[in-house]
């Protein structure tokens, strides 16, 4: 794939041929350059102990069953383009079987079970996940392309923590809703994205089960392996058959789940575009006088990360880097718009330019890797297209100078300067390791521009002044505001959007409301 991207200005080769061959660079133009010293010996996580079966079936009613559709699709390792396995593609008939199993389990077992017992199942699941966490992390990395240090140190600990957190709620629900007797909704259809496959499964399944619902989960088609491995965890935990079912497939499978007449709740995480389609199909059924499921949507974002001139700069730069390059920028709450107060702009750009040169892009299984593979070829094309639009519209591109592996889907960490509010890269979600940098003068200008797009999922504020933090937190129209930090997650902390970033919360006390009927 050829790109027309412009060459980077002030680029310095990371590995100079010889020291003496280096031109003399004036002091004020010097950039961070470790030369050969920046080369690390490879430190790959050993993946050969973890066997991936050549074929994966659907998980329905406690068993792995061949799809009635009879079709399978390939799951590819985005870092190598090698096929890892084939996965069953569920059609409407398969989805119907899964919903029937979930309905039966709901009516006969799960809704009748005391909360305390449900909680014990969740504890069991959490423990087994902890025990298998390295294996799951490796699989997550192979299937999705994310660096092992993130799947190992962020995703998996949060997955287990999420099950532990909601396990404790299962027998305490009446305290979550003062004056009400919360009741389960029934069968929940849950559709999750490819950026945090296991974590999104945990965010959806744990509260649903804690509240007494049963589940049909539809993982993203590019990242189904760990969801099916999670199904094995459920088997090992002896979770009653049908309480959680996993139907794999692409958009058609998700559509069949959304349109199934016996689903009481749809929870979707993904793009705003698909979220709107789901909302529209639910409305149609409601308008026709039919039984429509309840809906929660966690959709796209284009978060503003606002950097004031009184911020602790080095700490802020680390936060900006973590904010946009974490998980290759495949994060709905990624801090993809950086607003820098004018007085510190040149200083910030210099530090940012130096800092991205230290990011290590490559083998996701290598423990030193900061930036892994882009999840799929279509996503890579989308990122390339949007970055190209930024360059075409006049923005200047700066990228990490690194050699990208020959095979696989890769995009070097990038930032765009000279971005205006009118550029596509200032308002469209790129969902890749690309930061759009803009400047501002006053706090009012910062929050007005931050709020001036249809998204409202998250935001960041960097300043040493406490009252300014509270002013900004108060004014920003976003569901999560990180002040002097970024991309932090916790099962006790609710997550979800304002405006076109969706509605409903996941996590925390407020996350229970998505799975309860209040009588």
């Amino acid at each position: 794939m050829k790109t027309k991207l412009k060459p980077v200005k002030n680029a310095i080769p990371r590995v100079p041929a010889t020291i003496s061959a280096q031109p003399i660079i004036p002091l004020r133009e010097r950039r961070l350059n470790f030369g050969n010293k920046w080369n690390f010996a490879p430190a790959p996580e050993d993946a050969k102990n973890y066997v991936i079966a050549p074929q994966h079936e659907l998980f329905i009613n406690g068993k792995f069953v061949a799809p009635r559709s009879g079709t399978y699709f390939e799951s590819v390792n985005p870092a190598t383009e090698q096929t890892l396995t084939t996965i069953a593609a569920a059609n409407a008939e398969d989805v119907d079987g899964a919903v029937k199993a979930a309905r039966k389990a709901y009516a006969q077992v799960w809704s009748k079970m005391p909360g305390r017992e449900r909680g014990k199942y969740l504890y069991r699941i959490a423990r087994i996940i902890q025990e298998k966490s390295r294996e799951l992390a490796v699989l997550e990395t192979m299937d999705g392309g994310k660096p092992i240090k993130e799947s190992r140190d962020v995703d998996l600990p949060l997955v287990a923590a999420h099950f532990f957190y909601y396990a404790g709620w299962a027998d305490k629900l009446k305290y979550a809703f003062p004056g009400k007797m919360p009741q389960p909704l029934g069968v929940a259809g849950q559709i999750i994205p490819w950026n945090f496959p296991l974590l999104m499964a945990a965010w959806k399944i744990a509260p649903a089960l804690a509240c007494g619902n049963t589940v049909v989960l539809k993982p993203a088609e590019t990242t189904s392996i760990t969801a099916l491995r999670l199904a094995q965890v459920f088997q090992e935990a002896e979770l009653p058959a049908g309480v959680v079912n996993v139907v794999t497939g692409a958009g058609g499978t998700g559509g069949a789940l959304v349109n199934h007449p016996d689903v009481d709740k749809i929870a979707f995480t993904g793009s705003t575009q698909v979220g709107k389609l789901i909302a529209s199909s639910v409305a149609e059924r409601s308008g026709a006088g039919g039984r429509a499921p309840r809906l929660t949507l966690e959709l796209g974002g284009k978060a503003a990360n606002i950097l004031f001139d009184d911020a602790p700069i080095d700490q802020a730069i680390e936060g900006v880097i973590a904010g946009i390059y974490f998980n290759q920028g495949h994060v709905c709450c990624a801090g993809s718009r950086l607003f820098v107060q004018e007085g510190i702009y040149s200083k910030v750009i210099k530090k940012l330019r130096d800092r991205i040169q230290t990011l290590r892009v490559g083998d996701p299984l290598d423990k030193n890797t900061d930036i892994g593979a882009i999840n799929s070829r279509p996503q890579l094309e989308k990122i390339r297209g949007l970055v190209q639009s930024g360059v075409d519209e006049g923005a200047e591109l700066t990228q990490t100078q690194c050699t990208l592996p020959a095979k696989g889907y890769w995009f070097a960490p990038s930032f765009l300067t000279g971005v205006t509010q009118a550029h596509r890269v200032a308002s469209e979600e790129i969902f890749g390791p690309v930061l759009s940098v803009m400047t501002f003068r006053t706090p009012e200008e910062a929050f007005e521009r931050a709020n001036h797009i249809p998204y409202g999922l998250s935001a960041g504020v960097w300043t040493d002044k406490g009252s300014k933090i509270f002013k900004m937190v108060n004014q920003l129209r976003a569901g999560v505001v990180w002040a002097n930090t970024y991309n932090k997650f916790d099962p006790a902390s609710p997550f979800g959007g304002y405006k076109e970033s969706g509605f409903g919360r996941e996590g925390g006390l407020q996350g229970l409301a998505a799975y309860c009927r209040l009588d």
């Binding site: 409305a283 937190v473 002040a483 002097n484 006790a492 970033s501 407020q510």
Partner: protein
């Protein structure tokens, strides 16, 4: 000699002012016995859009007013309702098909209900917000905030009580509202607007439109600057259209259609209704030096 009554035209209530419909249209209100009472404005799509502009403009002041202040304003509105209770009783009795005694009951309940919700302004964030014990070294808290501009569809009956019961939980958190009044019995809503105008409620916080619901519903659903719809009618034909509006710009949609008698019960004095039009915001800050 017989004195001729002065007839009035009931007007719309938009941005604290009482315009006639920009369309120039009006409709005649009739008593249940079929006697022609007064004319009232027949709101158009443009009137609705004007109301959204007024409501949006009012969000800044009202949404950021202190909870104590919003409570005080709503208490004052309840005081105004009390002092003009007989006017409302008369309006309900003459223009809707309920007895004077029933009208009195509806008005007194409306006053009490407004007082009840006024008290929630500075309490619901404590009841529904949280400080979250995250595992990392961060201070983390979640607070509810108004979602912005909400459209409220009032059912036909009870013409005042249902409207008030739907609007109070919307505005108490700092939202502003555009109310589509009872289509069958619009006069009590129009009179209620005149009372609100003399309370301390800032102009634009509550806007009241009278006219034909079905005309306005598609425009409500597709308006890009409406954040939420609270549907007290719940008829399949309108609720389907309104819900489809979720797909336009992710409007929040809540369906609160009740049987007429239910509006008189404590069942709907439900603080959880406040949550239909709030957003939960979670803030993080590191703990350390």
């Amino acid at each position: 000699m017989h004195r001729l009554d002065v007839k009035k035209t009931y007007k719309l209530y938009i941005g604290g002012k009482f315009p006639r419909s920009e369309s120039g249209r009006y409709l005649p209100a009739k008593s249940p016995a079929g006697v022609r009472l007064d004319n009232y404005a027949h709101a158009s799509r443009k009137d609705f859009r004007d109301a959204v502009v007024a409501a949006r403009a009012a969000t800044g002041g009202w949404g950021k007013a202190s909870a104590y202040n919003r409570g005080q304003v709503l208490y004052r509105a309840a005081e105004m309702l009390q002092s003009r209770a007989s006017e409302l009783v008369n309006e309900i009795a003459r223009s809707t098909d309920v007895s004077a005694a029933q009208a009195r009951r509806e008005v007194t309940l409306s006053i009490d209900r407004l007082l009840y919700f006024a008290g929630w302004t500075d309490k619901y964030p404590q009841v529904f917000g949280s400080v979250n014990p995250v595992a990392s070294s961060h201070f983390n808290f979640t607070t509810p905030e108004p979602t912005g501009v909400a459209v409220v569809l009032a059912p036909d009956q009870p013409s005042l009580l249902a409207l008030l019961s739907l609007v109070a939980p919307v505005i108490l958190s700092g939202n502003t509202a555009i109310v589509v009044a009872s289509e069958k019995f619009p006069l009590p809503a129009a009179t209620f607007a005149e009372i609100l105008a003399t309370s301390d409620l800032p102009g634009g916080v509550v806007n009241i439109l009278t006219g034909k619901r079905a005309e306005l519903v598609p425009h409500i659903a597709t308006h890009m600057d409406v954040n939420a719809v609270v549907d007290g009618v719940g008829a399949p034909e309108s609720s389907g259209t309104l819900q489809a509006g979720v797909a336009t710009n992710l409007k929040r949609y809540a369906n609160h259609s009740l049987a007429t008698a239910d509006w008189f019960t404590a069942k709907m004095e439900d603080p959880y209704w406040i949550l239909d039009t709030v957003e939960f915001k979670t803030a993080w800050h590191p703990i350390g030096i």
